[in-house]
């Protein structure tokens, strides 16, 4: 099992705001690269590169619909929400840890 390179690739792919946005837009899977490119202030080629990075990471894939090729996110929308909630939980766990540290700190100073 060679998991590490894939993890790096997935995370590298998601580290960019435009690519995260493409993943989000492609959940509906109705747009091709050209239509996606219309949403960003960058060239078609630049958006094509972003899509290629996401494809290599396995986050999106291209599907043929008649003569068109659309970009589709490989995860179900609900699964995305679930993962976001998981990360949000981590964010709050971090906050609670810091809150606890603060409360404990003041207790020690007053003691």
């Amino acid at each position: 099992m060679q998991l590490t390179p894939d993890i790096d690739r997935v995370f590298g792919a998601l580290a960019d705001a435009t690519r995260r946005d493409i993943v989000r837009r492609a959940i509906n899977g109705e747009e091709g690269v050209a239509e996606l490119a219309g949403h960003y202030p960058m060239s078609f080629a630049a958006v094509q590169k972003h899509v290629a990075v996401l494809e290599r990471a396995g986050l999106v894939s291209k599907h043929r619909i008649g003569r068109r090729k659309v970009v589709r996110t490989n995860v179900h929308g609900l699964a995305v929400a679930r993962r976001l909630l998981d990360r949000y939980e981590e964010l709050w766990r971090g906050r609670v840890d810091r809150m606890t540290a603060l409360v404990t700190e003041t207790k020690e100073t007053h003691a």
């Binding site: 993890i7 705001a17 964010l91």
Partner: protein
Amino acid sequence: MTVTAVRKDPKALTMTITAEFEASPERVWQLWADPRQLERWWGPPTYPATFTKHDLAPGSRVEYHMTGPEGDQPRGFWDIVKADAPNSIVIRDGFANDDGTPNTDFPVGEMRVRIEEIGDGRTRMSIDSLFPSTEAMEQVLAMGQEEGLKQAVGQIDAILAEDASRSS
């Protein structure tokens, strides 16, 4: 472990987190009411928060920004809907533009905080978060990369495991 329960509903985009502290409700309230204390826990160490306007009276607007590792300063605001010190507060939170005005590209979310004494000098705090959209959640999470990263490996493993089981 101070977090005692977490409930998540991916369909409704809600999360409730419950935590217990060995402190009085007044002390826990201070974590929200004192901006200098708030700054020490709201943002992760890599994205510290600075509250430039802070008043928890109902109807007030709280303004803050975070400072990222590359100097980026995303801004946010809270509109205080209800506040009853030291027991509850309802906040509508959103993203702000560079000039501090609400960024209307993102719908606002809501946090309902309850703080109650549970005996033995302990206090329970629970927070209901209602997210307007997955997009807004992404935005929030982008300001906490470090904590996101801490989870990243486990998360990606889970994704890969899920994909593997699906294709098998």
